[in-house]
């Protein structure tokens, strides 16, 4: 936490700027002596404003630069600003992107990003692995690593508070009163005699007032929004079919595109015959794009149909021919040469392993698609004046600018990104292949907006999936206790693969290979975690909870088998070993919530427990299952997470329950397998996840014992699979060491 917090406090300087008909408030950042490749236009000592509050005659707009992919990011960002600004959240607008081109500049994005590397989180981990390239990477506007709330927590409230006090100062001048005698409420400044001025009326004058700095933030007892149930800003639109997602955007003169990509992931296009496609109704062009062929038509479906009618000859994928080959590559990576990191080495593991009966197990986690329900899509228009417009849902708007700029041969700063609401991501929108392909098509038809929509099958089979991974656990027990635990994890480097596609090298170890394992809050006397980097596998990307999504399972499953060997109870032994008071509290919470009195709950019934610390959050889960005639039924799940502060309790409960369902559903029945580099699962009939009938009752509790404010998008995912595996063992006696579990057991 230290570094991010220090930077944040030192550099907070709230500023304001006049805009057409009003004022914008935000955070100033001065150009610093070290090179900033993102903002060549800014000279040393000059400042750029990152606006968070815009007030003009039309009203108050809160700028919410973090992408919203369903986690409620727009709402929570707006709530933090509104808390201090004294506006009613239902009266304001939230705008994800720049309200005008003037806002969308490199300094804005760079500024926003500077604070987006809070304690914990994937991005900090990334930053720690390779300084140069990673600093460049994080100097970008990125949504990820459950960082939205930690990043925004002080910054957005400070922006709101400074704006409020500056508006009061403007009113004081208008009325010739003292600002300290004025109060604010509902977007108005109110004088002691009852006179009122709307913020909108004060905006122009406020732009000329020196912004009020160092406003003390309100204490928790004064909060109107934070910690209280709120109606999400987007909930009415999302309940009436009136929310516009990227896939719904229509731009004047737009054409529809679909792509046919090499079935073998990454295979080259050797040649194609599009004569049938070109003759189909509505088709206007067929053009090559990187990795395949694109069809231009006057309707999405006609483009899909025509793309399917193209005959193409494809090159081969650069990965093992069979899944056995993928697993073999992982198995072969457990060597000193392939060792990536050993961030934990407590006690004397080798001596302890020599001195006892060894428990040795191996675990596997498959590739997984992100498969958000909105297939990826983007609209790109290259304009005649050497600028471009992009309409898309993205977590990496700065990369989008850079990549579209490079494809079009124009300055990245002249690429306007119109951020759209995202129909789910789970990490998918941290990639921008669809934008790049749309740009490649658009440069061939300047002035025409090109909307590229991936067919579901293309989205799923050409995803960059979650890493495949393997773990080997060894350990010993003594006197009914876990005495030693040696966990080795092999996987390809997520960060290397993902950043490689952006042309960035990632020197040093990849902390995601061991994330969710090495930093776990258990004091096992002899304890070692080693990461091994496997090469030559499928290209992969960040998938909700990243390294911890596989490692939370490995760590807890391995620990469970040692606890079994010790003859101990999974909950009691965890409570005995736990070394952090915040972690102890979440374990005690789920023990109490579930009424834990042992793993076995009667004939054919059992429960399991898991705890994973990921993204700085301790999250514990208990899952209960019944073995029935129809198959295994997940009856209940209990979750407790240490949040520091729950900003929006209603949304928190929803996102946590969703994270548990995400973790359970994929553990139950999801995998992407490749044969000859071709993904074998292409739609939801073969990649299903959890269905409503299978959904357990889920009880959620957020704890607020810690000092740091945390994000919750990812942490509920890792403990779900191992808690389910533990429950199935308790109910049936069968140990599950490989996901998806449906390969070995039946679910009802």
């Amino acid at each position: 936490m230290g570094r991010a917090r220090t930077i944040a406090r030192r550099t907070f300087l709230i500023g304001s700027a006049a805009i057409a008909g009003g004022v914008a408030f935000g955070v100033w950042r001065y150009k610093t002596p070290y090179a900033n490749p993102l903002e060549p236009g800014l000279a040393e000592g000059e400042a750029a404003l990152t606006p968070y509050v815009k007030i003009d005659a039309e009203g108050v707009t809160l700028i919410t630069p973090r992408a919203d992919k369903g986690q409620g990011a727009y709402h929570v960002q707006a709530a933090l600003i509104a808390e201090e600004l004294d506006v009613n959240i239902e009266d304001i607008k939230a705008d994800p992107g720049p309200p005008s081109a003037a806002y969308w500049n490199g300094a804005l994005a760079e500024e926003v990003a500077e604070f987006s590397v809070p304690a914990g989180g994937a991005m900090r981990a990334v930053a720690e692995t390779g300084a140069g390239a990673m600093m460049k990477f994080i100097g970008l506007q990125i949504t990820g690593g459950s960082t939205t709330v930690p990043d925004a927590w002080e910054k957005l409230r400070a922006a709101g508070a400074s704006a409020r006090e500056t508006l009061k100062q403007a009113a004081a001048e208008e009325w010739d009163l003292r600002a300290s005698d004025l109060k604010t409420e509902g977007g108005r400044v109110i004088a002691p005699d009852g006179r009122e001025l709307d913020y909108t009326e004060l905006a122009a004058r406020a732009a000329r007032v020196k912004p009020v700095q160092d406003v003390a933030l309100r204490p928790p007892e004064a909060w109107r929004y934070i910690g209280k149930p709120m109606r999400r800003l987007d909930i009415v639109q999302k309940s009436t079919g009136t929310m516009t997602y990227g896939i719904d955007v229509d731009v004047e003169g737009m054409v529809h595109a679909a792509v046919l990509l090499s079935p073998a992931q990454g295979g080259a296009l050797r040649g194609y015959d599009a004569s049938e496609a070109e003759a189909m109704r509505g088709v206007t062009a067929v053009v090559p794009v990187t990795g395949g062929v694109a069809v231009i038509a006057d309707n999405t479906w006609r483009a899909f149909e025509a793309a399917d009618a193209i005959e193409a000859d494809w090159g081969e994928a650069q990965m093992p021919e069979t899944m056995d080959g993928h697993w073999q590559a992982l198995s072969d990576a457990f060597t000193a040469d392939a060792q990536d990191s050993r961030p934990r080495d407590d006690g004397d593991v080798d001596e302890a392993l020599d001195g006892g009966d060894l428990v040795e197990t191996e675990y596997r986690a498959p590739y997984l698609a992100h498969a958000p329900l909105e297939p990826i899509n983007a609209i790109v228009r290259i304009n005649d004046d050497d600028s471009a417009d992009v309409w898309t849902g993205t977590q990496i708007p700065r990369f989008v600018q850079t990549n579209v700029g490079a494809i079009a041969g124009i300055d990245a700063g002249d690429v306007r990104v119109h951020a759209q609401m995202i129909g789910g991501s789970f990490g998918h929108r941290l990639e921008d292949e669809v934008v790049k392909q749309a740009a490649e098509i658009a440069v061939q038809m300047k002035g025409t907006p090109v909307k590229l929509t991936y067919k579901r099958e293309m989205d799923m089979t050409h995803d960059f999936p979650r890493q495949i991974a393997m773990a080997r656990a060894r350990g010993t027990v003594k006197d009914g206790r876990v005495e030693s635990y040696d966990l080795g994890i092999a996987m390809p480097s997520v960060m290397g693969s993902q950043m490689g596609r952006q042309g960035l090298a990632v020197p040093g170890p990849d902390s995601q290979i061991v994330a969710g394992a090495w930093e776990q809050p258990f004091a096992i006397p002899n304890h070692r975690v080693t990461g091994y980097r496997a090469e030559g596998l499928a290209p992969i990307s960040s998938w909700r909870s990243v390294g911890a999504s596989s490692n939370g399972f490995f760590y807890n499953a391995g620990l469970d088998e040692l606890i079994e060997a010790a003859g101990a109870d999974p909950m009691e032994e965890r409570l005995r070993l736990v070394s952090d008071p915040l972690a102890r509290a979440v374990l005690e919470a789920v023990a109490e919530m579930s009424g834990w009195d042992g793993a076995k709950m009667g004939p054919g019934k059992g429960r399991g427990v898991a705890l994973t610390r990921s993204f700085g959050v301790h999250c514990a889960e208990v899952v209960e299952v019944s073995d029935t005639e129809d198959g295994l039924v997940i009856d209940k799940a209990y979750v407790a997470a240490e949040m520091g502060r729950v900003v929006d309790p209603v949304n928190f409960e929803n996102v946590v329950a969703g994270g548990v369902i995400f973790g359970l559903g994929h553990a139950m029945n999801c995998e992407i397998t490749y044969e000859g580099g071709v993904a074998q699962q292409e739609n939801f009939y073969s990649y299903e996840g959890m269905r409503l009938r299978q959904c357990p009752e889920i009880m959620v509790r957020g704890l607020e014992n810690g000092d740091a404010v945390r994000g919750i998008g990812e942490p509920p995912v890792p403990p779900a699979a191992p808690a389910l595996a533990g429950a199935i063992f308790a109910a049936t006696g069968q140990r599950l060491r490989e996901m998806p579990f449906s390969k070995f057991v039946d679910f009802a």
Partner: protein
């Protein structure tokens, strides 16, 4: 061909095998109806034809046998259908992309079965996939909507 959507009759010149989903989205601009899978595996495109919930990705334009009602015709932010009101009350949505289909499926269920059991809800809603995992709130909202409609 002619098609009636949310009370408005349209004259169309499209291929008979163009799925109703794409007629609605690309020809008529009814974007509240969502594309998720194209193979009836997710339910995001659910609409009503003569009150029956159907996957619009699997109904050919030439086969539409009655009046089509979409999420936009069921109700609107000013005049909410009871199911939409329940969805708002329970704050069901996360990304919200599947919810048009969920709401249309739930509305059809309640029209047929005003007081559904848990098993009825599971059976009716099981084909509607939610990747964010809002199922617990969907169940709760269906029950609230059922109550509202019965008290109606």
């Amino acid at each position: 061909m002619q098609i009636t959507v949310d009370g408005t009759q349209h004259e169309l010149d499209v291929e008979g095998d163009m799925p109703l989903l794409w007629v609605l989205r690309d020809e008529l601009g009814v974007k509240g109806v969502k594309y998720g899978c194209g193979v009836a595996a997710c339910g995001a495109c659910t609409v009503h034809i003569d009150g029956e919930a159907v996957r619009s990705c699997q109904v050919a334009a030439g086969d539409v046998w009655g009046e089509v009602t979409t999420i936009e015709g069921l109700g609107n932010p000013g005049t909410l259908h009871a199911v939409q009101a329940a969805w708002i009350e329970h704050q069901v949505a996360q990304c919200g992309y599947c919810q048009s289909g969920q709401i249309m499926q739930a509305a059809a269920l309640l029209a047929e079965t005003p007081a559904p059991s848990d098993a009825d809800i599971d059976a009716a809603m099981d084909g509607n996939l939610c990747r964010c995992g809002t199922y617990p709130r969907i169940r709760a909202a269906v029950k609230t909507a059922a109550k509202t409609l019965q008290e109606g």
